[in-house]
């Protein structure tokens, strides 16, 4: 069986960043396994700009951002297999994959970095009554048809969900000559980035219906019409508020879910909120030597953070390869009031490798809040912030010094302030 020091599963933004970082850390014997025909992942179809401001201090398109990392990986001599699907991983860190050239193969890794990305919630997961005609697509599916294959899926469009891909597609399809009638969002606030509300909807006069959802689908062959209703505080449709739109296309932009069946199979402990693995400060999962990062760990809104996080996971993997496991006390991170989740989820406080940046999201929009980080009763850090939105990931940095030796679980909460 072929052996690698580290195998990166997924050649998207997370995988490429992890691979480049592994090389920088002196881990030479590595390989990236990518299921698609080329690396770059979902960025290849995200042709809009806005990527890379943190990483490169400039605004790149998705493909351009990807190409920089593809080039970096090539320069670093990273071995990449495309059109290669990993079918199983073992807790012993064997990896089985298939592709057209080698057929079915099994390799042995010392460390595995899962950079597997996420998938879109589909109509089934959102439960829309009515028929099942053609004309209903996830936003990412329509995006692939348009930006990779070069086909427009429809002319009269409505969008359910204000996730960023849906907003981006509203603008993109409008520019390509489709009429976008509106975007309905179940929640009383948008789930997309404010800049996308502005430049994708407001710029083109596309209405955003907050606290609304699609309540019926009509059309036997092709979508013909949808019913949209207002929802109450419990998110239940309110009778009498129905609006009808005669559209041939409904795009769903209703959330992304980390793709984790590989990790699930070997019993990696998952966080039910993120639906990704629980990781420690080295981005190691509950299975020794298996690391996770990117949208397969938790869904990000900016690729720059994916890149950064994947690099940290690679550093963690490199450390583990060199020094073995972290020993000593383990504490958990706990989402306090107004916080939905925190990554990382575990900390070895006797063996902190350095500062740790914690990623978290608020559960609801807050005009102003105070972010409080504490361990038991001991407050470690407070931070005031305006405009906290569930759609925007928050970050808070704690130093190695602050974290070392902590005994009580670490809580992050956000107190609403005036």
């Amino acid at each position: 069986m072929k052996h690698y020091d580290a195998v990166v599963i997924g050649g998207g933004s997370a995988g490429l960043s992890a691979a480049v970082t592994l090389k920088k850390q002196g881990i030479e014997n590595i390989i990236v396994l990518e299921k698609d025909g080329e690396t770059g992942g979902i960025l290849q179809q995200c042709i809009h700009n806005g990527f890379g401001l943190q990483t490169f201090k400039e605004q790149l398109s998705g493909p351009a951002y990807a190409e920089r990392f593809i080039d970096q990986a090539a320069e670093a001599g990273v071995e990449v297999l495309t059109d290669t699907m990993v079918t199983h991983i073992g807790a012993d860190k064997t990896i089985e994959y298939v592709n057209s050239t080698e057929g079915y193969a099994k390799i042995q890794a010392d460390a595995i970095i899962l950079a597997v990305g996420c998938y879109e919630r589909s109509r089934g997961a959102v439960e829309i009554p009515g028929e099942r005609p053609t004309g209903i697509y996830t936003a990412g599916q329509a995006q692939r048809y348009l930006n990779i294959d070069g086909y427009l899926v429809g002319k009269k469009v409505f969008i359910l969900g204000s996730g960023d891909i849906g907003l981006i597609m509203a603008r993109r399809m409008t520019l390509e000559g489709a009429k976008v009638y509106g975007v309905a969002e179940l929640m009383p606030y948008s789930n997309g980035l404010p800049r996308n509300i502005k430049q994708c909807l407001e710029d083109f006069g596309i209405p955003l219906y907050l606290s609304h959802t699609v309540t019926h689908i009509y059309g036997h062959d092709r979508l013909e019409r949808i019913e949209v209703s207002a929802v109450d505080e419990k998110r239940k449709p309110v009778p009498g508020t129905e609006m009808y739109f005669d559209v041939d296309t409904l795009l769903l932009s209703v959330g992304l879910i980390p793709e984790n069946h590989l990790a699930d199979e070997i019993g990696v402990v998952m966080n039910p909120r993120t639906r990704g693995p629980v990781v420690d400060e080295n981005y190691m999962t509950s299975v020794e030597g298996i690391f996770a990062c990117g949208n397969g760990l938790h869904v990000h809104d900016l690729v720059d953070f994916v890149t950064m996080e994947a690099a940290r996971a690679a550093e963690g993997a490199a450390r583990w390869l060199k020094n073995g496991s972290s020993a000593g006390r383990v504490i958990r991170t706990e989402a306090g009031s107004n916080v939905s989740y925190i990554v990382p989820g575990l900390l070895h406080t006797d063996a902190m490798p350095g500062n740790v940046e914690f990623f978290f999201r608020v559960t609801r929009p807050l005009d102003a809040g105070e972010i409080i980080v504490r361990s038991g009763e001991k407050v470690l850090r407070t931070l005031k912030k305006k405009k906290l939105m569930p759609s925007e990931m928050e970050r808070v940095l704690l130093t190695k010094q602050q974290l070392t030796g902590l005994e009580d679980n670490l809580t992050i909460e956000v107190k609403e302030t005036e």
């Binding site: 042709i47 806005g50 605004q59 398109s61 190409e67 294959d149 070069g150 520019l175 800049r195 405009k387």
Partner: protein
Amino acid sequence: METKELICVNCPMGCRVSVTIEAGEVLSVTGNSCPRGEAYARQESIRPMRILTSTVKIDHALHRVLPVITSKDIPLDMMDAAMEEIRRVTVDAPVKMNDVLIENLLGTGADVIASRSMDRI
């Protein structure tokens, strides 16, 4: 005197910027985190400018279409005309990232450039 609340679209931070305007003149800009935010707010109050991204037909390549991007902002009110220009272009692989496909798009000073490289196949 009038105060406008804007969301800066320069980067995903999406800063909420306040612009004070009197008689068509921008008096002050607050809430921005960087100089680009101020420039954006001033421009936005006069004539909004945006980056345009789209695709052009490409022959002899992995995919049917090639993503393209304007090399700098163009006026928002010129988007439809700009799309007309982009629709007319067909390129032949190979293409390198940043290859100029349309020079000085509609006199805006912005070029339409390839957003990625694509090999010939």
